[in-house]
């Protein structure tokens, strides 16, 4: 497998200081949907180029936390900063610009099944294009875009699928299309919501491996939500444990104790 990594530097802690990755800062951020508290006063700083795993049971607030980071959910309390800029103070156009720099791999992948892989990946660039630029790219894709997309698909391991209809691909291949779309945004941050839920265990591992590897190569900040603790411990140097909307631990992976992990996944008393 071309994306397998060498064991030694999988959990590389030291990142280059010239990293172009985005930084995220949450201060006392809360999200309340109706009467449900999804996130409760979360304080979190993720530095440029870091790779962080969000772990916890489903419903713990992992997805909401990711949505705060790209500004698709607004905090009902507290602030969210991306590269030091408070998202609440940005105009709509500025917010769009911030979003266009953050790739998001959705749990359900959110691909258009009846379009070709090329067009699904192309859509990643829409945030950076004008109305006519987007029209042109979609209807008559420029050669340089096609070449870039081919390169990205090569990187994620499915270059030969570029003209295939997306619904003819396997689950694992589709996931790679979703990753490619996020990469075609030329992002500074990469967010992935449960990249293991839609595929079998072997592919889950390679998907997480691919995400961490690409982020490291390109100096992107990576945040991945995972309920699979095994993968989280293997691939991420830093883990944030969430339970019922609160951060219960946030430290280097090897410093998290077994008791803490057990408490995180204890189904009693949620």
């Amino acid at each position: 497998m071309m994306w397998s990594v060498n064991e030694g530097n999988r959990k590389s802690q030291g990142r280059t200081s010239s990293s172009r990755g985005a930084s995220f800062t949450l201060r006392k951020s809360s999200v309340v949907f109706g009467s449900t508290v999804a996130l409760d006063s979360v304080d979190l700083h993720i530095g440029s180029g870091e790779a962080v795993g969000f772990v916890g049971l489903s419903g713990a607030g992992k997805t909401t936390l990711l949505c705060l980071l790209n500004g698709t959910v607004r905090p009902t309390g507290g602030t969210v900063q991306v590269d030091g800029r408070d998202l609440a103070t940005l105009s709509f156009e500025e917010l769009r610009k911030v979003r266009s720099g953050i790739g998001f791999v959705h749990q359900d992948l959110s691909l258009i099944p009846n379009l070709r892989v090329l067009h699904n990946v192309l859509a990643g660039r829409l945030g950076k294009l004008s109305f006519w630029g987007g029209m042109r790219a979609f209807l008559f894709p420029q050669r340089r875009y096609v070449h870039q997309i081919h390169e990205i698909l090569e990187r994620v391991g499915i270059p030969e699928k570029i003209y295939e209809r997306t619904d003819r691909l396997s689950g694992g291949q589709r996931q790679r299309v979703a990753i490619a779309r996020a990469l075609f945004q030329e992002p500074v941050g990469l967010l992935a919501d449960e990249p293991v839920s839609s595929v079998d265990p072997a592919r889950a591992r390679s998907a997480v491996s691919l995400l961490t590897e690409i982020s490291r190569e390109q100096g992107l900040t990576l945040c991945v939500s995972l309920h699979n603790l095994h993968l989280a411990r293997e691939f991420f140097p830093r883990l944030v444990g969430l339970r019922a909307g609160r951060v219960v631990f946030d430290r280097a992976t090897e410093q998290v104790t077994e008791d803490e992990f057990e408490a995180l996944y204890d189904l009693n008393g949620v």
Binding site: G71, F92, L95, N114
Partner: protein, 298 residues
Amino acid sequence: MKMTRSWDRAFLHKGLGVRRILILAILSGGIWAFVQLDLNPADLVPTSGGVQVAWAFFSRALSPAIVYEAEFVPSDTPPLLWKALQAAGTTVVFASAAMSLALIWGLLLGFLASSSWWVGDPAGGAGNVTAFVRRSIAPVVYGSTRVLIAFMRSIHELIWAVLFLAAFGLSHLSAVIAIAIPFGGTLAKIFSEMIDEAPRDVAHAFRGSGASATHVYLFGLVPRALPDMTAYSFYRFECALRSSAILGFFGYPTLGFYIAASFENLHYGEVWTYLYTLLVLVILVDWWSGALRKRFVV
């Protein structure tokens, strides 16, 4: 097994009640209409003269005319089958012109009549021109477009044709516009609903990656509805063929013109020839759309 307690039973039965009432209401509505119209199966027994006409007409169903039934045919008249083919061609041309116009109107008005393009970002946006348009102009545009397409649809193409013929005479454009107006309205209504009902997952994802509202609409929502929209457009093309044929009754050289003429001359064999030509047209379109659907939609 546990006994169903009385309050459980009340809860269980309540769920069924509404549906039962609805089914009964629909049934009795149909019966009421029948009674209201005084529909009597005995009306289907024809008068003695009627039996002869009906027999003369339907007996030719299995032997449509191959050559003209008239005793005198001018020497420069094309053969019957060739004429039927030409009429079919004209019918297709009228239907195609009308559908092209209707599709353009349907896509434009369908865009304005859908709520997806102006419903705001779930995360909201700071106040600017876009937000102002969304909040104050868009609902007005949406509402008036809905009224406009309802008006276009509520008047049948034959009535539009009567109006346009009175105003502009027997021009080709009158016929095309007469069909295009109600068809454009219907397409706009159905397109807007298909787009509004399309899954929103992709639209949400595109918004999250900074795409503008129009891009989200055009590339996130429309493609998801496109298979249904294509299939529906083909069905409407079929309807346009029928309408275009019927406009022949007003004097346009489509199939309807020749059907009416042969019928008046009691040349029922020719009527069947033209009717079968129309049937073949509809089957061809059906086959074509089926083949396309297999390729693009499935």
